[in-house]
């Protein structure tokens, strides 16, 4: 288990080195996470030295975990505040309010844990801190993480809509430029061949994001099960097999995962489209 912990810490450090710091993560959250990391390293060393006071460091680490969780939940709340009521429907506003309530519940829970530790710090036993940490982990996994995933999925779908809009606009500008080149009697056959791939790819990317949007809107915003779909298959002997399935079955059993995957797949197509644009740009430089 400890080897896994070390691996996670190492992976985290590696991840931090290779990924840009996220804009939505506030400085407070980033600092809070750094403090958690430092506390874990200290705790590992203290435990290795068999320091009889290791409980003090366990408590300190737990306090840092709570501080980070508070900062993280506040960041998520700020993101939700950013949803413009004028641009979304009443159902989305109702969803936003439900998410706000969930975040407030999380903040209340974190505050109560923080106060408990503050009041009982001097008398806490090892068993108590272990139990507390275990409950905290379970609470975070069952209550906070699903809410955070749901909020993040909402933003993913919406941002992919914007990405598709930008891609469409860029494709339209390129289409006009190809016309200009044709008018100037420049050979555009190769450019047109590349560009012919773009429209079907945009369509595919849109379909994927529409699926994600439908799935999110139905299951999360409207909180409805997906409609059952009845399909008939005619057997060779003429008998009919009727099967009932839902769109969820077809896509994936875990809606959170499938929404994220659908958007990611859609965005991967957008990236491929931009690669075609870049290849076309190189070609244009050679032609002019």
């Amino acid at each position: 288990m400890r080897a896994i912990s070390f691996f996670i810490i190492f992976s985290f450090l590696l991840g931090m080195c290779f990924s840009l710091p996220a804009r939505a993560q506030s400085d407070t959250t980033k600092k809070a996470l750094e403090s958690v990391k430092e506390s874990v390293t200290t705790l590992i060393n203290i435990k290795d030295e068999e320091n009889p006071n290791d409980i003090v460091f366990r408590i300190e680490t737990f306090k840092k975990v709570i501080d980070f969780s508070i900062a993280e939940a506040k960041d998520l709340k700020i993101k939700l505040f950013g949803i413009d009521a004028k641009k979304v429907g009443t159902s989305t506003i109702a969803w936003k309010n439900r998410m706000m309530k969930n975040i407030d519940t999380a903040l209340e829970y974190y505050d109560s844990e923080k106060n408990f530790i503050k009041e009982r710090e001097a008398s806490l036993t090892l068993v108590e801190i272990k139990t507390r940490a275990e409950s905290f982990k379970e609470w975070r996994e069952s209550k906070y993480i699903p809410t955070a995933d749901e909020i993040n999925n909402f933003f993913l779908v919406e941002q992919q809509k914007q990405a598709l809009e930008t891609t469409r606009k860029r494709a339209e500008k390129i289409r006009l430029d190809i016309e200009k080149l044709k008018w100037a009697k420049i050979k555009t056959a190769e450019l047109e061949k590349l560009f012919s791939k773009v429209d079907p790819m945009i369509k595919d990317a849109e379909e994927l994001n529409d699926k994600a949007d439908f799935l999110f809107y139905t299951t999360k915003i409207l909180q409805q099960p997906l409609k059952e779909e009845v399909t008939d298959e005619i057997n060779t002997d003429g008998t009919i097999n009727t099967t009932t399935s839902t769109a969820t079955d077809k896509i994936e059993k875990n809606p959170e995962l499938s929404i994220k995957d659908l958007v990611k797949e859609s965005f991967a197509k957008v990236k491929n489209i931009y690669q075609i644009f870049i290849d076309m740009s190189s070609l244009v430089r050679k032609l002019l």
Partner: protein, 105 residues
């Protein structure tokens, strides 16, 4: 004066019409296209999600350390750090070996 202006204008029109220079702003610069895709908010959000996943793993690792009371001496970080300190075949030993070889042979 008017004659030279007319000549310059005629020259400009002649160059503009005959020159093959076509303005294709949307395809001119690959860097602009690269920048456009990097600036898409979804791109930033996906990086943010990756950061959050790392943060979640960090929190889980912290809680595991708080709870764990069994194997204090088997932490991989500690073991790695210790094993590096035990590197016998260091540069000094190699240098001494070389000197000894010179003396012997």
């Amino acid at each position: 004066m008017i004659g030279s202006f007319a000549l310059a204008l005629a020259l400009f029109v002649f160059i503009s019409v005959l020159s093959p220079a076509v303005s294709v702003s949307s395809l001119k610069d690959a860097n602009t296209l690269n920048q456009e895709i990097s600036d898409l908010s979804i791109n930033i959000h996906l990086k943010e999600l990756s950061y959050q996943q790392n943060a979640d793993s960090m929190i889980m690792a912290a809680i595991t350390e708080i709870k764990d009371t069994k194997v204090s001496h088997l932490n991989q970080k500690t073991l790695n750090s210790e094993s590096q300190g035990l590197n016998i075949e260091n540069n000094n030993t190699k240098d001494i070996n070389k000197l000894l070889d010179t003396v012997i042979f």
